[in-house]
Subunit: 597 residues, 2 copies
C-alpha cells in the first residue's frame, strides 16, 4: 500500500496519541507501553480502531519505545521480535484498507559525543525493529520524535538498508526552535531529506499554532512532503495528571493552517484523541496541495545550514586540514596525533570559514578507519558543515555515513571510474559533491572543455537521481606561471558553466599561484576576478587575511552582501572576520537532558 | 603645390646640405649663412639649382638659422623679413616646377627648464619666419634638426596657427639614440605626429646606415610619412676641415635601405652634395611605398612613451594631485604653495605610476594661469606623461599646449557641450582623451547606456578626425554603497565597450568605495575584477600598496605581464614596485650642451 501515491490530490491524515490513550485505558507510570501489544492486545486494538473510525488514513503501531536497548530497562529485550510482530498484527487488523506505519522512536540514550551510544549500536537496534516490522506486514516506517539528526540518520539508513519500506522521519523541537541537540528545522530538513526519505516533518514539540513557524521554515527548503503531528497544546500538571490546553475544535482549525504553511500530511501527538482526529479530518476534507520544487544548494552541520549560490555569500571552504606538501601535518597524522588538525579546525572557524575541507591523505595510514574518526571528532569541535576530501572512495563513504549533517564530497570528476564510484555515494547519502572538470582525456584546455566535462558530470548525476543543485562545479584553475592564458579560461568557464548548466561553481586557490613569490597576491586577485564571474564557493586558506578581506569586498561588489551589511559590520568594529560565538550545545544539554530521558 | 599628393605612388627626394655647400663656396666660420640670401643670392641660387639638376623633388630654403633670436648674434634681427623673402625667392627661381620648403631650424637657445627661452618667445620667433615664408611663396615648411619636442611643438603650432602651409618636422638624435633633451624616436613620433604634421622624421644625426634603427623605430608607430635626411656619415676634422666618411655611392644604397625601414621621403644633411642626391635619386627610382595604419594607444612625456591597451600593462594613472576633499592640498594651491604637489608627483612616480593626473580645481584660483604653470613644473620633476584634469576647458588648452609630450585630457563626456568644447582641443593638440560615459540624460543606468554614451563620444570624435585609439572610455564606477548592482554593470560595460567599439577602457577608483570603511579593499577587489573584464587603465592612488600589489597580480592573471616577468622581478627582490631610476637629463645636458649651441 503506497500512501504517497495519491498525495498530490489529497492530504493524508495520521492518527493521534497512543500513549495518552493507553494511560486513559489504564497504563500505569513505570509500565512498558509496548508490552501491552502482548499483554493487552484488545486495548491496543480498540485505540487503533477508534482512530480508524475517526477517519485516520494511517495508524501508527504501538512500538515507539520498542527497541532492544530501551526494552532492557524493562528486562524485555528478548521480547522485541514478539512485541513488534504483535503490534503490527493488531494495527493491521484494525486498519482495514488503511495503512499501518511502524513507529520507531529514539533509542532513549544520547549518541556520542553527547552520550555513549555509538552510531553502529543505534543502527543495529533500529534495523532489528524495522526488519521485524516489515516481516509482520507494516506498510511504511515512521521514525519519530527525533532530537539528534545523527540518530535519525542511523534509523533511516537502518530501515533503507534492511527493508523495502517507505520511510518518514519527524524531528521534535524545543521552545527555542531547535532540537535538544541544537538543530534548527531548516538544518534538519537539509541534513535528512536526501537520505531517501519519502516525507519529513515535525511531531510532538508544541501545539499546532506554535508549530506553524517550524513547518513554514521546513517548507522553504523541503523537497519532499512534510508531516506535522503537533501535541494538543502545551502540557500542564494538575492533581498529578497531565492536561493539554487545546480543544479538539481549536486543534482541527489550527492544524488546517499547518497545511497552508506547507504540510501535506497531518496528525496528532501527545494529548490528542480520536475526537481530535475526527474534527481534523472533517476540517481539512478535500484540501489539495501542489508541490513546488525548491531550487537551492545547501549543506549542513548539526546546528547550521550553509546556503551556496545565488546571492548567498561566497562559501569559504577552509583548506588547511590537508597534509599535501606539509611535513609537520603529515607526520602528525601518521603518528595519530590529531590535535593539530583539531586546532586547525577551530582556528579556521574563527577566521570565517563556512565549511571545512577534511583531507588526511598520507601514504600508509588506514584512511578508511581514520577518516570517520577524524570527521566525527571535528564535527564535535566546530559548528561547520564538512567537506570530505579523499581519493579513497571507501573512506569517503565511511565518513559521509557518520557525519551529523549534510556534507560535501570532494570530489567526483568526469572520469568514468570516478563517476561510477562516487555518484552512488552522493545519491545514497544525499550529499553535495564537487565536480572536477577533468576527464579521461586529462586537464581541460579551455572554457569549452570545462563545460563539456561539467555537462558530463551533471548528466550522469541526473541519471543517478542526483539534482544538479547538489553539484558544485570546479572549473579548475591551472598554474598561471606555466599556463598563463589558462586563468582567463577558468574565469570564462565559471560564467559559461553557470549559464549553460545552472549549477554552482567553486575553485581551489592552492594551485594557480604555484611557483610564484607572494602567492597570496595571485590567489587574492584571482578570487576577486572569479567572484565577478559568478563564483559561488572557494577552497581557501582563511588565515590569509588579505584574501579574506578582498573576498568580503568582492561580495559587496557582486551583491552577495546586500546593503553591504556584513562588510560594514566586519570592518567598522574592527572585529575578526566572521567571528562566530560558539553554540553552547553542552550547556544546553545540561539544562535540558532530563526532559527527554 | 602639394608634394604629398603623389606620395602613395612614389617616394620623394629632398635636397642635400646647404651649409656644406656654402662653406665650399666660400662661407667663412663666423659668417651668417642666411645673410648670403642678400649678399650672395647667386651662390645660393647655384646651390639650389645644382640640387634641382641632381633630381631633388623639394629644395630647402637657406633659412635654417633665420629667426629673430639667432640673428641677434649677427645684429641682423631686423633683416629677418628680408632674409626669408629673398631665400624663398631664390629657391623659387631655382625650383622650376619642383617644391620649395621653408627651412626652420632650432632657435639656438635651450627652452625652459634646460635654458631660459620660453614657449611664447620661441613660438613668436617661429611664427614670424613662417608668415614671411608663406608670403614669399614657400610651398611647405620643414622644421628640422630639432632636439626638444617642446620647441618642435612651438614651431609646429606657430606654422599651423599662422599659415596654411603643410609642415614636416624632423628631429635629431645622438649616438645613444636619444635627442639631446633625452627624447627617443618613438616618443618623438608619439609626441608630435598628432599636431597636424604632414610628415615627420629624422635628419642630421648620423650617416644613413646608423639611421636605419631610428627610422625602424619611428616606423613602428608613425601614422604619417617618414622623412629621413642623414649626414654623409660621421664628421672627422682633418687639417681644420670637416670631412664625412660616406661616399655618394654608399649613401645612395644605404639610403635606399631607409625606405625599406619605413621612410618614404629621403634627402641629405651635413656633408651631402648634389652628387649624393643624384645617385640617391637614381638608386631609388620607381620605389613604391604602401602605408600601413598603425593601431595602438600611447601617450608620452619628454623621455618616455606609455602604451595603453592590448597586452600592455594596465596603465596606472596616479590620482593624488587632486584637491577634491583634501583640505590641506586645497589650501596649498590657494596659497600658491605647490611644493606639496611636486612632492606628490615625485612620490607617485616612485610608487609605480605610469601617468600622473593633474587636477588643481580649487574655487577662486586662476586655473587658466596656474594649470600651465603647475604642468610645466611637474613635467620637469617627473618623467611621466601627464593627464590634464579640469572642468575649465581654457585651462586644459593652455596646459596641453605647453606639455612636453602627448598628454591625456580628463575628460570629455557624451554631453553636447562637452563634446563641442573638448574634442577640438583633442584634435588640434593630438592628445588622448578620457571619454566619460555620462550624457545630457545623466549617469548611465546599465551597461547598455554606458555603451550608447561611449558610442556617441567615439562617433563624434571620428567626425572631428580623432582616431578611436586616442579615446579611453571610462565606464564609470558608481558608489556601491548606494547603487549595489551598478558595479557589475560597470564591469560588463568594460567588456562590451571594448568588443563593440574597439576602444580602450579606464576606471577611476575614488568613487566606488565612498561611504564604506576600509575603502582600499573595495577599490582593490574592483580593480582585480575590472582587470579580468579587460580594463586598460586605472586612476588610482599608487600609495595603496595592496591595490598596487593586487594590480600586479592581476596583470599576471590576464597575460598583461608575459611570463610573469615583472611580477617575479618586483616580488622576488622585494623592491619597491616599478621603482624607476631618474633619467639624468641635466647630467646629459652638461656633457653635450656644447655640441648644439
Ligand atoms: Zn508528543
Ligand atoms: Zn506522539
Ligand atoms: Zn646635418
Amino acid at each position: 500500500m503506497d500512501i504517497f501515491k495519491n498525495l498530490k490530490n489529497s492530504v493524508i491524515v495520521f492518527d493521534g496519541a497512543m500513549g495518552t490513550m493507553l494511560q486513559m485505558k489504564g497504563l500505569k507510570t513505570g509500565e512498558c507501553p509496548e508490552y501491552y501489544n502482548i499483554t493487552h492486545p484488545d486495548i491496543v486494538y480498540e485505540i487503533h480502531k477508534s482512530y480508524i473510525d475517526a477517519g485516520a488514513d494511517v495508524i501508527e503501531t504501538n512500538t515507539f519505545g520498542a527497541n532492544r536497548i530501551k526494552l532492557k530497562s524493562y528486562n524485555l529485550s528478548d521480547k522485541l521480535p514478539e512485541i513488534v510482530k504483535s503490534a503490527v498484527h493488531i494495527a493491521r487488523k484494525a486498519a482495514g484498507d488503511k495503512a499501518v506505519a511502524l513507529s520507531i522512536g529514539p533509542i532513549g540514550e544520547l549518541m556520542e559525543p553527547f552520550g555513549k551510544l555509538t552510531f553502529d549500536e543505534a543502527y543495529s537496534a533500529f534495523a532489528e525493529v524495522a526488519v521485524e516490522g516489515e516481516k509482520a506486514g507494516a506498510d511504511l516506517v515512521l521514525i519519530e520524535t527525533m532530537s539528534d539528526i545523527l540518530e535519525a540518520k542511523a534509523a533511516i539508513l537502518a530501515v533503507k538498508e534492511n527493508t523495502n519500506l517507505k520511510v518518514i522521519c519527524t524531528m521534535t523541537f524545543q521552545e527555542d526552535g531547535r532540537t535538544l541537540m541544537g538543530t534548527d528545522p531548516v538544518t534538519a530538513i537539509i541534513s535528512l531529506q536526501g537520505l531517501g526519505l519519502d516525507a519529513i516533518g515535525v511531531n510532538c514539540s508544541t501545539g499546532p499554532d506554535m508549530m506553524a513557524d517550524i513547518v513554514k521554515k521546513m517548507s522553504e527548503v523541503a523537497r519532499i512532503p512534510i508531516l506535522a503531528q503537533p501535541n494538543a497544546g502545551m502540557p500542564h500538571l494538575k492533581d498529578g495528571k497531565t492536561f493539554y490546553n487545546v480543544s479538539p475544535e481549536q486543534f482541527a482549525s489550527q492544524s488546517k493552517e499547518l497545511l497552508e504553511c506547507g504540510a501535506s500530511i497531518v496528525g496528532g501527538c501527545c494529548g490528542t484523541t480520536p475526537e481530535f482526529i475526527k474534527l481534523l479530518k472533517a476540517e481539512i476534507h478535500g484540501t489539495e496541495k501542489e508541490s513546488i520544487v525548491k531550487k537551492y544548494t545547501a549543506v549542513s552541520s548539526n546546528t547550521k545550514t550553509v546556503f551556496i549560490g545565488g546571492n548567498n555569500p561566497i562559501c569559504v571552504i577552509g583548506e588547511r586540514i590537508n597534509p599535501t606538501g606539509k611535513r609537520k601535518l603529515s607526520d602528525a597524522i601518521k603518528d595519530g596525533n590529531f590535535n593539530i588538525l583539531f586546532d586547525e579546525a577551530s582556528s579556521q572557524e574563527n577566521l570565517g570559514a563556512n565549511v571545512l575541507d577534511i583531507n588526511i591523505g598520507v601514504p600508509g595510514i588506514d584512511e578508511e578507519k581514520l577518516m570517520p574518526y577524524v570527521v566525527s571528532q571535528i564535527q564535535n569541535i566546530v559548528n561547520l558543515p564538512l567537506q570530505i576530501d579523499s581519493s579513497n572512495v571507501k573512506a569517503i563513504e565511511k565518513a559521509v555515513r557518520i557525519v551529523r549533517g549534510k556534507p560535501i564530497i570532494n570530489s567526483v570528476s568526469a572520469k568514468e571510474k570516478s563517476l561510477k564510484e562516487v555518484l552512488p555515494i552522493v545519491k545514497k547519502y544525499g550529499t553535495s559533491v564537487i565536480g572536477l572538470t577533468i576527464s579521461d582525456e586529462g586537464l581541460p584546455k579551455n572554457e569549452e572543455e570545462r563545460l563539456k566535462n561539467a555537462e558530463k558530470i551533471v548528466k550522469t548525476a541526473f541519471d543517478y537521481g542526483i539534482p544538479k543543485e547538489d553539484i558544485i562545479i570546479d572549473c579548475i584553475a591551472l598554474t598561471v606561471s606555466s599556463e598563463q592564458t589558462a586563468a582567463i579560461e577558468t574565469l570564462k568557464a565559471i560564467k559559461l558553466v553557470k549559464s549553460e548548466l545552472g549549477v554552482n561553481t567553486i575553485i581551489g586557490l592552492s594551485n594557480i599561484s604555484y611557483g610564484l613569490p607572494e602567492r597570496y597576491l595571485i590567489n587574492t586577485a584571482f578570487l576577486a576576478m572569479a567572484a565577478s564571474y559568478g563564483l559561488d564557493a572557494v577552497i581557501v586558506n582563511p588565515n590569509d587575511k588579505i584574501t579574506m578581506d578582498i573576498l568580503n569586498a568582492s561580495m559587496v561588489l557582486t551583491s552577495r552582501d546586500l546593503r553591504c551589511e556584513r562588510y560594514i559590520q566586519t570592518y567598522k568594529k574592527d572585529d575578526k572576520i566572521g567571528n562566530i560565538p560558539n553554540v553552547t550545545i553542552e550547556d544546553k544539554l545540561k539544562k535540558d537532558a532530563s526532559q527527554i530521558l
